[in-house]
């Protein structure tokens, strides 16, 4: 039992280095990816597209962005969009991309609003709330952070 003190000391040192390296590299990678993906771009980082189904009248919105990983670890980027009216989710879409360090991948998320909801909420007076959320994870998806913005209609 007495001889365990030294190996334990070495193990503690290894774990301390792992803790600092994992947390530091992950936060660095996540922040770099956030900056490169959401703040950069010549014509803005986010592109939107709208289309209408001629038969059902439903409207589909597509939001796309390039997930650029300028960090040192692989990242998982998740994007989630919701339209909420009267505490009810009328449309939602979710997508994710895994990007290696130094890489860039396009990510697009689509959501469809039915004709009834469109006429009732968007075309009417009850404007829906919009919720846009993203989450960035790295170090085997174990360390991450996310931001969700809820904008009143």
């Amino acid at each position: 039992m007495r001889n365990w003190a030294k190996p334990l000391g070495i193990l503690i040192l290894i774990l301390e280095i792992t803790l600092v390296a994992a947390t530091g590299l992950s936060l660095y990678t996540n922040l770099q990816t956030l900056g490169a993906s959401l703040i950069s771009g010549d014509d803005g980082p986010i592109h939107t597209q709208e289309s209408e189904d001629p038969i059902t009248g439903a409207r589909t919105f597509t939001i796309g962005l390039n997930v650029t990983n300028k960090g040192l670890l692989e990242v998982l980027f998740k994007l989630r969009i919701k339209a909420i009216a009267e505490e009810r989710v009328i449309a939602e879409g979710e997508g994710s991309r895994r990007v290696p360090p130094g890489g860039s991948e396009p990510l697009s998320v689509s959501f469809t609003v039915s004709k009834d909801d469109w006429e009732r909420y968007v075309g009417g007076s009850l404007r829906p709330d919009a919720e846009v959320g993203f989450e960035i994870r790295s170090f085997f998806d174990l360390i991450g952070f996310g931001v969700t913005l809820r904008m009143r209609g």
């Binding site: 039992m1 007495r2 365990w4 003190a5 334990l8 000391g9 193990l11 503690i12 774990l15 301390e16 792992t18 803790l19 994992a22 947390t23 709330d129 959320g133 989450e135 994870r137 170090f139 174990l142 360390i143 991450g144 952070f145 996310g146 931001v147 969700t148 913005l149 809820r150 904008m151 009143r152």
Partner: protein, 166 residues
């Protein structure tokens, strides 16, 4: 003499990490960001600095206690254990964005007035898990050293020093 130097270095490092460095960084943070930190943490930057300073003083005091007490004494063991716990609580506090009970998974909603709201999520459970393992290992190591350490060494050492004079 060697223990004295080790204690002094430990105290100085504690004071630099927990008092000088945070104050230096805080003085370079723009005021707009200071307000945001306060909203997210639910604590003003001044209070965050005070918590860090208090932790620094506690850790420095524990280093002094360890330095002046016998290496294999109960006091030294207690100081080691308290030091490990203080560091773990600090990790819990900061990874939980001011809430130690969040255990590294913190969620904060910041109101942006009429515009809506912003929800911030921080998942540092791995960091908390590793910090918990480190705390347990550090305490185990301190207990092993206390339980199986050569307690007679402390008494024999001064005699060795006196021998040449005799």
């Amino acid at each position: 003499m060697r223990r004295g130097i080790k204690t002094a270095v430990s105290v100085i490092v504690d004071l630099i990490i927990f008092i000088l460095l945070p104050n230096f960084i805080a003085s370079h943070i723009p005021p707009e960001l200071t307000g945001m930190i306060a909203q997210v943490l639910g604590l003003s930057l001044q209070n965050v600095l005070l918590i860090l300073a208090a932790a620094g003083i506690v850790l420095a005091s524990l280093s002094i206690v360890k330095g002046i007490s016998s290496k294999w004494s109960t006091v030294s063991l207690a100081a080691s254990i308290i030091g490990s716990v203080v560091i773990f609580v600090l990790v819990l506090f900061f990874t939980g964005l001011g809430d130690p009970l969040a255990f590294g998974y913190a969620m904060r909603t910041v109101s942006t007035g009429e515009m809506g709201s912003t929800q911030i999520l921080l998942d540092l459970r791995l960091t908390v898990f590793l910090a918990a393992v480190l705390m347990i290992l550090s305490i185990t190591r301190a207990v092993i050293k206390f339980r199986y350490g050569p307690r007679g060494e402390e008494l024999k050492a001064p005699q060795k020093g006196l021998n040449p004079q005799l």
